[in-house]
């Protein structure tokens, strides 16, 4: 009886201790992540305090930073935008504007990564803050416009590969709208993909390829027609990527866009899958020796 009492006492002590140990260890990663976030914010706070900005600007930036983090913007990105912005000599109102745009984007449940990437990229490249502010503001608006378009196809049964798949499509559609591709062309692309019972991934790739074509000099109509034909002919995501590579390679050879378009159309007419063609001799190689190209590249330089 005494032994049983002893065992019970030990268990009474042991079980809560074990549960406490498990809780502490289980919560450790969250605590570490939170600590890392706090460390990033502290870094930004120090940068703001050390800057020569007026007190109101400092307070404004820190308030906006807290709001952005509360909205779900990663603290690391908030910190990076602040420190990089201050390094580039951005005024307080611009940094506040960046954080405001990021917070609003996140609060609308839109993918915030493209907006953050655009800000971080612009600041790194030395783009004037006013321009970054305008570009990212418009990008955020395009994301808001793209979301219901993607949601429509999703609700109509277009298979999505989780939240990332849908978010990627929202980002791609936003970039298409940014490139002045008509909304109607994007929606028709979705209809073509849907008719083929294609996935959100295929829709994403088709819109992205269309945007790349337009960015390389095709008209929106040419690009839309080519992509729709490809989708109707059963081209896969990889085939569409191969079409882009084909176009890039042809342009590297200094072929005019009209020739490239007719060449791609005639290949599609023949029912050739461009992914296969890409590997065939004489169809254009995707392998170039370093420094041999140059058609698309060039010195960007500081703006």
């Amino acid at each position: 009886m005494k032994r049983n009492k002893m065992t019970t006492t030990v268990l009474k002590v042991l079980i809560p201790l074990l549960l406490a140990a498990a809780a502490v260890l289980g919560a450790a990663p969250c605590v570490r992540a939170e600590d890392a976030g706090q460390a990033h914010l502290e870094q930004a706070r120090i940068a703001v305090e050390r800057s020569g900005l007026p007190k109101e600007s400092k307070t404004g930036i820190l308030t906006k930073a807290d709001r952005a983090v509360a909205a779900g913007v990663p603290a690391e990105d908030v910190s990076l935008i602040i420190t990089r912005g201050l390094e580039q000599g951005a005024e307080g109102r611009h940094v506040e504007g960046f954080l405001e745009t990021a917070a609003k984007t996140k609060e609308q449940n839109l993918p915030v990564r493209p907006v953050l990437d655009r800000m971080e990229q612009g600041l790194a490249k030395g783009v004037p803050p006013e321009k970054i502010a305008g570009v990212t503001q418009r990008l955020s608006e395009h994301l808001a416009a793209a979301k219901p378009m993607v949601n429509k196809f999703e609700s109509e049964g277009m298979r999505s590969t989780g939240a990332k798949g849908s978010d990627a499509a929202v980002e791609t559609v936003a970039r298409a709208l940014e490139r002045a591709i008509p909304r109607d062309a994007v929606m028709r692309t979705g209809e073509h993909v849907k008719d083929r019972k294609g996935s959100m991934g295929l829709f994403n790739r088709a819109v992205d390829t269309m945007t790349t074509f337009v960015g390389s000099g095709m008209t929106a109509e040419q690009a839309a027609n080519m992509v729709h034909t490809a989708v109707d002919r059963g081209y896969s995501e990889r085939d569409l990527e191969a079409m882009e590579r084909y176009m890039v390679n042809e342009l590297r050879k200094n072929r005019p866009m009209s020739e490239v378009v007719s060449g791609m159309n005639s290949r599609m007419e023949r029912g050739e899958m461009l992914h296969d063609m890409q590997e065939r001799p004489g169809a254009g190689s995707s392998m170039h020796s370093p420094g041999s190209g140059g058609g698309m590249g060039g010195m960007g330089g500081r703006r």
């Binding site: 032994r3 049983n4 002893m6 065992t7 030990v10 268990l11 002590v13 042991l14 201790l17 074990l18 140990a21 498990a22 260890l25 289980g26 450790a28 990663p29 990105d77 990076l80 990437d117 655009r118 971080e120 990229q121 612009g122 600041l123 790194a124 490249k125 783009v127 321009k131 970054i132 570009v135 990008l139 970039r175 940014e178 490139r179 945007t211 790349t212 960015g215 390389s216 990527e241 882009e244 590579r245 890039v248 995707s286 170039h288 370093p290 420094g291 041999s292 190209g293 140059g294 058609g295 698309m296 590249g297 060039g298 010195m299 960007g300 330089g301 500081r302 703006r303």
Partner: protein, 219 residues
């Protein structure tokens, strides 16, 4: 006669244990009165019981039971029975604080290892299905350059984390571990000029009037 005697002894034991009913008590008393041998035996037993009841109680030393049990010769049971007993037989686990703390330590270590394993993909080789990385080589022919770095979506456009190495032929090169997906990037030459990779497989507007190179990584 012998069997009768044994039966009487058992009844006497039950009497001493307080287990006999009134009728049985009366029957026993009649028999004890009639049988001198039984009467003498009954008296002896009563004396023993009284002696036990009036004697001083000596507490058993600690671990007395365990010591006695240890000295008992264990019976050699068949192997199958021993296995069955080991698996199925109820047992009392005796704890002391040292054992309890040792068990707690082992448990804590197991939980720690489990948690670390669960979080390992974030920082280790990212061998998991979704977190695999591919080493991608990027080259730029720039014999006149003194310093080249690559900045892109994979490093938040930092210009000081991925520096290319110059080869003898004027080609600068770097191997960058990239996750599956699309990555936009540009080279930063001598810390000021942003250069698009002329050999990229695709290009994308950077939103500021220039083009980023695109690297598509698949497993």
């Amino acid at each position: 006669m012998k069997e009768r005697n044994e039966l009487d002894k058992e009844i006497i034991h039950r009497l001493l244990d307080g287990d006999l009913g009134p009728d049985e008590k009366k029957a026993l008393a009649d028999r004890v009165k009639a049988d001198p041998v039984l009467n003498e035996e009954f008296d002896d037993l009563l004396r023993v019981v009284r002696a036990v009841e009036t004697s001083e109680r000596i507490p058993a030393p600690p671990f007395f039971t365990a010591a006695v049990m240890r000295q008992l010769q264990p019976r050699k049971a068949p192997l199958g029975m021993r296995i069955r007993d080991f698996v199925l037989k109820g047992r009392v686990l005796r704890w002391n604080m040292a054992t309890a703390f040792a068990a707690m330590l082992v448990f804590a270590l197991v939980v720690t290892l489990a948690v670390r394993t669960r979080n390992a993909p974030v920082e280790t080789a990212m061998i998991g299905q979704q977190e695999q990385v591919v080493n991608v080589t990027m080259n730029l022919h720039a014999p006149e350059a003194h310093h080249i770095a690559v900045a892109g979506t994979f490093n938040k456009w930092k210009t000081d984390t991925h520096v290319l190495t110059r080869q003898e032929n004027g080609i600068w090169t770097i191997s960058v571990p990239l996750k599956p997906g699309e990555h936009s990037y540009m080279f930063v030459v001598d810390g000021k000029a942003w250069v698009t990779d002329p050999d990229a497989e695709a290009y994308r507007d950077d939103g500021f009037g220039n083009k980023n190179a695109v690297k598509r990584v698949s497993i």
